[in-house]
Symmetry: C2
Subunit: 339 residues, 2 copies
């Protein structure tokens, strides 16, 4: 964290006494962001619906319960959102359905949360608080199976599943509302994000979540396919940093940015090996791709994130080995709260 | 129509006794398609909701009332769609909200029709008739303001309005259902389409509709801006031909294709002039761009449609001057039915 623009206490000051709304605020990225912003002196309102299959978890606020306001509500509820956006300086719009498989099994729910709700959040801002600045947590998912690597923001969008299509539409609503109505919005296309407070009981956020649980529970890590697929990873603190930078920098308005790793991509086999070494115990085994996952798999992926480095100065700071170590430390202590 | 693959009577035979469902079947493109298919001996079921602001018009079936079945229903009604897709060989999925301005004023309705309904139509096919072949009427709209001209299918998608975002999502549902579930689907990205049976009472389908009405009513044609914007046009019979070709050719499954003109693009000024000459009377005047239209305008646009020519053999046959002549002839006779 020592090279990013926000590390100066001057920049950190920018959030002091700011009124900040975080949708998905009890979730993985949302809670890490909220803790950071609370430390910076912001006034936080966290909105979350605590749907059991999603990432919200009250334990994520452990130690911060008195420093933030929690409002349990669903972003699908237009009236709540109309009220909650009022008076806020910033909106970190992180609520979403993240499971690709769930989006195929129940496409309407994914549509309601990732598309319709985004529209109603933006309509709420347009009607009630057009001066707000929004940072939207988007995803690399809708690049689909890459045409070339690394994938930059000029890469065609060709999603492989309903979740990808819906997140794509949700992102574009933000950009269109920025361009047409002047409601400042930036979209960050997150890649695999991991770290403390992530969902580990299943693979709904990323497969690395369930791997952490498996290795800590003494179960073998399960790798689909030949394990040669390449991926990139961001430790959650680096993602929080990107969200904060995007919120402060007017150059980001109306822009989309890839996040991604400063290290080379890693194969799933090597990642499993690294996780086991970091844990000093464990094993992994490969099994054939389940049919439903194979049908929407994107093969190798890693991002070119030079645009956000060049324009906003974001450089991820936490190496994968260190991030895995911190994640294992966290879940070793707190795993019962995430089962 | 003399060079396209379908002109041989052998190919035309392919539709004889085929069961064909057309959503938006009373609309502009849908009714022209239905008349052509009825002539080819297909059994047609036309679904339309006749929403007054949209393109459906019972007069579009004039002379064909006894040769097709009309089912008044809204594609938002999942149960109707579940029933109506059953037993059909082909689905031409043309129902949509087409007005860009309406999509900004009422984004939820556009979302319901252009996104949610597309999902429910595809879910109906997945559950009730996975062997169906679908041709989806998409739009060039979501390319947004072009990065380069002519625009081919490799051009980035960056929609400028809610309608563009929603049509983009609707198209991608079709491609994902093709790729994941094997429900054969092809998407054609239509550019400005004009001809008999189009909506002319306002600019909700394309500005050329209201121009036709204006010139036939002795009113001046109204051109926004400096009139230098370039556009391309397809006469509706050529679009119908593309829909039919895409339905028959298995190479089109899972593909998206631009439609576009075989002639050079034309400026709005020149188009107004050509329309007036073809009509042998009329005048046009330029007015400043209304603010709400300017905010979502895409500037110059014309398509590279070489992909569909190369892969499916489609070449538009009707020159603009001839298409305008036929359109004027039609509306001169039938304008009262389109007011």
């Amino acid at each position: 964290m020592i090279m990013n623009p926000l590390t100066s206490s001057l920049a950190e000051m920018a959030f002091k006494n700011k009124r900040v709304l975080v949708t998905g605020g009890l979730g993985f990225v949302g809670s890490n962001l909220a803790r950071r912003l609370a430390d910076a002196g912001a006034h936080l309102m966290l909105v979350d619906s605590l749907i059991p299959d999603y990432g919200g978890n009250l334990f994520n606020l452990d130690g911060y319960e008195q420093r933030v306001t929690v409002n349990i509500a669903d972003v699908r509820d237009e009236y709540s959102m109309d009220y909650l956006v009022q008076g806020q300086d910033l909106l970190f719009n992180l609520a979403g359905q993240t499971s690709h498989l769930d989006s195929m099994r129940d496409p309407y729910t994914d549509l309601d949360i990732n598309v319709r709700s985004q529209l109603s959040i933006l309509e709420a801002c347009r009607k009630k608080n057009p001066g707000i600045k929004i940072v939207y947590a988007s995803t690399r998912q809708f690049y689909g199976k890459p045409d070339y690597l690394p994938v930059d923001e000029r890469h065609l969008l060709h999603p492989t599943d309903v979740n990808g299509i819906n997140k794509m539409a949700g992102e574009w609503y933000h950009i269109v509302y920025n361009n047409v109505y002047g409601i400042r919005a930036t979209s960050l296309r997150l890649t695999n994000t991991y770290g403390p407070r992530m969902r580990v009981k299943d693979a709904r956020q990323t497969f690395l979540g369930i791997w952490l649980k498996q290795v800590l529970s003494g179960e073998p890590i399960v790798v689909y396919g030949d394990g040669q697929q390449l991926r990139d990873f961001n430790y959650v603190d680096d993602v929080v940093e990107a969200l904060l930078i995007a919120a402060l920098d007017a150059r980001a308005d109306g822009q989309v940015y890839n996040l991604g790793s400063a290290e080379p991509p890693i194969s799933l086999n090597d990642l499993a090996q690294l996780l086991i070494e970091t844990n000093t115990a464990g094993e992994y085994r490969r099994i054939p791709f389940p049919h439903d996952r194979k049908a929407i798999d994107i093969g190798d992926y890693y991002a070119d994130c030079s645009k956000i480095r060049r324009e906003l100065g974001w450089i991820p700071q936490v190496p994968l080995a260190e991030g895995l170590r911190r994640s294992l430390d966290y879940f070793r202590r707190h795993l019962p709260y995430y089962r």
